[in-house]
Structures are given as structure tokens and as C-alpha cells.
């Protein structure tokens, strides 16, 4: 491998967590395909299987467009499959020739022996668990968001067999439930939810009784209200063996987010300048990076 390849930091666009309409998905990925300096794009519904009949028709065109734009497409799978239909979708996607993102152990039997990526919903907390998954076929590991950069780096250095990725941008996925909070807020039942989550394309803000911004809900998912903006210097990433930054879609200008991170990863922009540039975008919450620094997730700790 050349010197350049050894120091290169790649960018991943994670799956969209929110219930976006097929038109919105097509428009979003068309711009990503044409303009975003991202090499790998994860597509597919990961949060709620009930949304799949709406988004499924959009994916073939999205995938075709992204691949034509030179992106590597990864098929992301459900984080909590439950129904027969949801389980079958995980199994079908895991049979695909493309790379898949596994977000639940349910996907492992049908994917073992073939390459896969573990998403942030799969609990990989230490080098022994990472090695177990690598031996099954994991080639990229994006650990849960609560793990620090130091912990991910320590894992990466002990597991040369896989590439490690850190959740760098977007509202943080914090919890999943069997209960749908959008339905609950609207006095509905999950089984007849009326898809009110579609009204909140960045998630619905959850504030405390004292109006502190705190969390956001997205159907069965709870996210941070604040937006993760981990902006490490590229040599810090290289020295820790972390080779990928994951950017998680929000409704802000994700092409611009990708350009900022590309400049940061190429050493063309300082971390503080990258953070400032991100803060100028139309974001659903303020910037945080506590988790990466082994602090509470909502903390703002600045330099990497």
C-alpha cells in the first residue's frame, strides 16, 4: 500500500434514520451521488419496518443513481426486526452481493462467511468481540455511539483485520423501544400509528420541563437533541487506527457537511474551523462531542 493510502481517512454516509418520503429520498441521494465527496453510502430503513412499504420502491433508483455516481452502496438492515416480514427483509438483504450493514444479531446467520459492516446498533465494546465478528466476516466496525474515540482506537489497534469507523456527525442514536413515541404523543397506538413521524424529518425535539434541549424522538427511536460534531485532526485518527468517519443524514445541507469533513480529513481545514463551518449550517440542535472524549454525550469538549 502506498503512503497516501495509509493515511487516507474515508467518509461514510450512514442510513437515514427518519421517515422521509420517496421523493425526498430520491432528491437527497441524487445530490449526494453528484456532489458529495463521500465514497461509501449506506441506504435502507433501519428504525421501523412499518415504513418499508413507503421507502422500498425508492431504493432501486437510489442505488442505481449512487453507483452511477461512483459511490459504494451498502444495504443497511433493520436494528430491531420483529415481524415475519421484517425478519425476511433482513435475511433477503443479507443475501445481496453488495456489502450490508448489520444492526442486529438476527442478520448474522444469513451473512456469516460473507463481508459485512456492523452498524452502531450492534454492541461491539471490546477487541475480543470485534475479533469474533471479524472472523465471521466483519470488514468495517462502527461501534455504539457511547464508546469513546480512545476506546475505539484501542480496539482498532488490536484488530488489524478490520476497518474502524466512528460516528462523527448527526443526532446520536441513543435508544430503541418496542413502543412508538410519535404514536404515543399523538394519542395513537403503534399498530395504527398513521405515520406521524413523517412530520418530523429530523426527529421531534424533546425538552425538559425547564426548556432544556435534551432528546429527540423518531418513532420507536430516541436520539440526542444535540448534533454530534466530532472533528478530529486526521493524524489523531491515523495514530488510533480509525479510518472512517460516519456522517448521519439530517435535513441540513449534507453535501456541505461532507465537504467540511473531507477538508478536515485531508488536513486542509483545522478542527476548530470545521466545527465553526458546521455550526453555520441549519442544524436541528447545538453541536456536541462528549462521547468521543469519554464524557457524557451532551458535553462540548472541543479539540480532539
Amino acid at each position: 500500500m502506498s503512503e497516501i493510502a495509509l493515511t487516507e481517512i474515508a467518509l461514510t454516509l450512514g442510513p437515514v434514520f427518519f421517515h422521509w418520503s420517496p421523493d425526498r429520498l430520491l432528491d437527497f441521494y441524487r445530490r449526494i451521488a453528484d456532489e458529495a465527496p463521500i465514497d461509501r453510502v449506506h441506504v435502507g430503513e433501519v428504525v421501523c419496518g412499518k415504513r418499508m412499504p413507503f421507502s422500498d420502491p425508492a431504493w432501486p433508483a437510489v442505488i442505481e443513481r449512487l453507483e452511477r455516481g461512483g459511490k459504494q452502496v451498502v444495504l443497511a438492515t433493520l436494528a430491531a426486526p420483529a415481524t415475519v416480514r421484517e425478519r425476511r427483509s433482513v435475511e433477503d438483504l443479507c443475501g445481496d452481493e453488495r456489502l450490508v450493514e448489520i444492526n442486529d444479531v438476527s442478520g448474522l446467520p444469513s451473512r456469516s462467511g460473507k463481508s459485512f459492516i456492523t452498524g452502531p446498533f450492534l454492541n461491539v465494546y471490546n477487541e475480543a468481540s470485534a475479533k469474533f465478528l471479524i472472523q465471521l466476516g466483519a470488514q468495517t466496525i462502527c461501534p455504539p455511539v457511547e464508546l469513546s474515540f480512545a476506546a475505539i482506537g484501542a480496539m482498532a489497534l488490536k484488530c488489524p483485520g478490520a476497518e474502524f469507523e466512528i460516528f462523527a456527525f448527526g443526532r446520536l442514536p441513543l435508544a430503541l423501544s418496542g413502543r412508538c413515541y410519535h404514536a404515543r404523543i399523538h394519542g395513537l397506538h403503534k399498530d395504527s400509528c398513521q405515520f406521524t413521524c413523517e412530520q418530523d424529518p429530523d426527529g421531534l425535539s424533546v425538552d425538559t420541563l425547564d426548556d432544556q434541549q435534551f432528546l429527540a424522538v423518531n418513532g420507536v427511536q430516541t436520539l440526542s437533541n444535540q448534533v454530534q460534531a466530532f472533528c478530529p485532526a486526521p493524524d489523531a485518527l491515523v495514530s488510533k487506527g480509525v479510518r472512517r468517519l460516519r456522517l448521519s443524514p439530517q435535513t441540513c445541507d449534507m453535501v456541505e457537511v461532507a465537504r467540511i469533513y473531507r477538508r478536515l480529513a485531508d488536513g486542509k481545514e483545522e478542527p476548530e474551523d470545521a466545527r465553526f463551518a458546521l455550526s453555520c449550517l441549519d442544524l436541528p440542535g447545538t453541536l456536541v462531542d462528549g462521547y468521543a472524549h469519554a464524557k457524557p454525550g451532551w458535553h462540548v469538549t472541543a479539540p480532539a
Binding site: 436494528a79 454492541n123 435508544a175 430503541l176 420541563l209 424522538v217 462521547y291
Partner: protein
């Protein structure tokens, strides 16, 4: 329909509670070591190596089993702490280890084939594929079911898998899928998966203000109580929040699980063991709850009417409301 009697699995936070649970009729007790390897890592709780060995002797003398929970996720570079906990549990003569992390499960499967392996609720295995994977890879004999499944879903699951299932019937209720919730670390830096704690007491404050008491976690207001109102513990997911112009117990009301009325339904669904939550509880509480559930399970097993668990537990509800949780589909 299972033909064997259902097993009653009871919490033991201390050696005294272990003895109390056994004497009250527990078929099995579960406990953990006094460190971050178990999901109830609270001050003053849990067992040393010697206490566990003594507890196992006591339980076995009385015909009860001991299950050891080593069910947090091992820390990078410190996996040996978790492996040593497994080795100590095996040496103590315990009957099973309850684990969630691939690293811990793999260590048990490779080095302690003689001990039963139970998959912790923290692994959140809810499908035949996931449970089948853990069975094939590690030889798990039982799965503790995530608290998000309905009775119908549990019955369907049991028809599709070859391992035993254990279901929670009483105690604290996580509304999030356990093992996949990072809310506590987002607010406080400490979480169930990493530290074995949720909404830790050292981050709690009760602030007296003109309008009453604010219960806060790491500075975030989780709930607020008027003067003279009983003040609750600020567990993050049981708080009141504002969302969509509404103020409500958005995630879950401050309720606890009581599926005492569902014992026969759980038996019909093929469940092998019923679990009572509460390793943080004292021996008086544990004795009373175990005795009540012993009577209820025995009544169901003898084919009679289920005894009224609510009436038996009247002294333990502490005024808090109870729910049958996800076992009833309307919970969702």
C-alpha cells in the same frame, strides 16, 4: 405447552437476600460480583468470590440453583476482568452464567463447557435467527426475553427455537430495548452496558425551588413535584418532558411491571422460567414478593385459579402504579 413446572428466578443483591429468596421458595436466585461485570453495579450490593461460594452451598442445600449475571459489556483492554469473573463463577459451583457480550459468551463456551449458559436480556435477542445464532455459536441453553414482546409473540418465538425462555414478571420496567439504550450515558457518562448502572445516584439532585422540588439528573430536569407531593427518583425514561407542545411522561409513566396475572398465559406460551427484577431490593421486599409469586406459580401449576398476586403484594406496591407492560399489545 410445557409439561415441566415453571422455574421461579429471584433476585439476590446480597448474601442475606439470597438466603431470604431461597427460604421464600425461589427455584433459582441470580446474583453478580461486586464490580462492573454485572448490570446492577450499585454500592453495598453484590458478592465477593467467597460469598458466592457460600451462597451456592446454601442454595444447593435447600434445592435451589444459583445463576451468576456477568452481563455488562467488557471494557476494551480489560476483557480479562470479565473472563476472571466467569472463571470464579464456574469455580463456585454455580449452575449457570448469564451473559450478553460476545467476548464473555465465547469465553464460557470455550473454557467452561460444563456450566449452563443463559443469554442475558442485555443481548436483546428477540428473533429465532438471533437466538439460533447464539445457540449455534455458544451453546446457550436459555434466553432471557427482551421486555418488548407480547404474549402472542413469545408463543410464536417458543415454537421456533430450541432453547428455554425466561420472562420478567415483576419489578422495574425498562421501556427501551435493554442493552441498546445509551440515554443514561448521554446525560451522565455512565450506562448499563459500560458500567452496569442507569441514571446513577451520584448524578441526581433534588433542588428546592419556589414552585416545589425539581428532580434532576446531571442538571437535566427529569421531573418536578409540587409542595407536599411525594418526590420520585429521576430515572431518565420515567420523567416528564415537553414534545410536540405537550408535557407528558413521554416514554413511560412511573410504573413497575406486574405480570402476576399472566403466569398461566406465559406458561401456555411455552416460557420455562419467570424472573423477578430487583437485585437492588432489600430482603424484606424480596421475601414477600418471592412468597407471593411462589403461591401464584404453584396455583397455576396445579391447574387451579391463579391467586390474586396484586392482593398478596399489597404491601409492596409503594403507591406506584403497575402495568403488565408489553405482554399486552396495547402497551405499544
Amino acid at each position: 405447552m410445557t409439561t415441566t413446572r415453571m422455574e421461579l428466578v429471584c433476585p439476590a443483591g446480597t448474601p442475606a437476600t439470597l438466603r431470604a429468596a431461597v427460604q421464600a421458595g425461589a427455584d433459582a436466585v441470580y446474583c453478580g460480583f461486586r464490580d462492573e461485570t454485572n448490570a446492577r453495579n450499585f454500592p453495598g450490593l453484590n458478592f465477593s468470590r467467597d460469598e458466592l461460594a457460600e451462597g451456592v452451598r446454601f442454595a444447593h442445600d435447600h434445592g435451589s440453583k444459583v445463576l451468576v449475571a456477568i452481563n455488562t459489556f467488557a471494557r476494551v483492554d480489560d476483557v480479562d476482568i470479565w473472563k476472571k469473573a466467569v472463571d470464579m463463577a464456574a469455580e463456585s459451583g454455580a449452575d449457570a452464567i448469564i451473559a450478553a457480550d460476545f467476548a464473555v459468551l465465547d469465553h464460557v463456551a470455550r473454557n467452561h463447557k460444563q456450566i449452563r449458559l443463559h443469554l442475558s436480556v442485555q443481548a436483546a435477542a428477540a428473533t429465532p435467527e438471533a437466538i439460533g445464532f447464539y445457540a449455534a455459536q455458544f451453546g446457550i441453553r436459555r434466553v432471557v426475553l427482551p421486555r418488548v414482546l407480547s404474549l402472542q409473540e413469545i408463543a410464536a418465538l417458543n415454537r421456533a427455537i430450541d432453547v428455554e425462555t425466561e420472562a420478567f414478571v415483576f419489578g422495574g420496567l425498562c421501556v427501551m430495548i435493554e442493552g441498546r439504550c445509551y440515554l443514561s450515558s448521554y446525560a451522565t457518562g455512565k450506562s448499563p452496558n459500560l458500567n452496569g448502572v442507569c441514571s446513577p445516584p451520584e448524578m441526581v439532585s433534588y433542588d428546592e425551588e419556589p414552585s416545589g422540588t425539581a428532580a434532576r439528573l446531571s442538571g437535566f430536569t427529569i421531573d418536578r413535584y409540587g409542595r407536599g407531593q411525594p418526590v420520585g427518583y429521576p430515572t431518565l425514561c420515567k420523567g416528564r418532558f415537553k414534545a410536540g407542545e405537550k408535557t407528558s411522561h413521554l416514554f413511560e409513566d412511573p410504573v413497575s411491571l406486574n405480570a402476576g396475572g399472566m403466569i398461566s398465559g406465559l406458561k401456555a406460551a411455552g416460557v420455562t422460567a419467570l424472573k423477578i427484577e430487583g437485585r437492588q431490593r432489600g430482603k424484606g421486599y424480596v421475601s414477600e414478593v418471592v412468597r407471593a409469586f411462589r403461591k401464584a406459580v404453584d396455583a397455576v401449576e396445579e391447574g387451579g385459579e391463579a391467586v390474586d398476586v396484586d392482593r398478596l403484594l399489597a404491601g409492596q406496591s409503594e403507591g406506584a402504579r403497575q402495568t403488565a407492560g408489553a405482554y399486552e399489545k396495547k402497551w405499544r
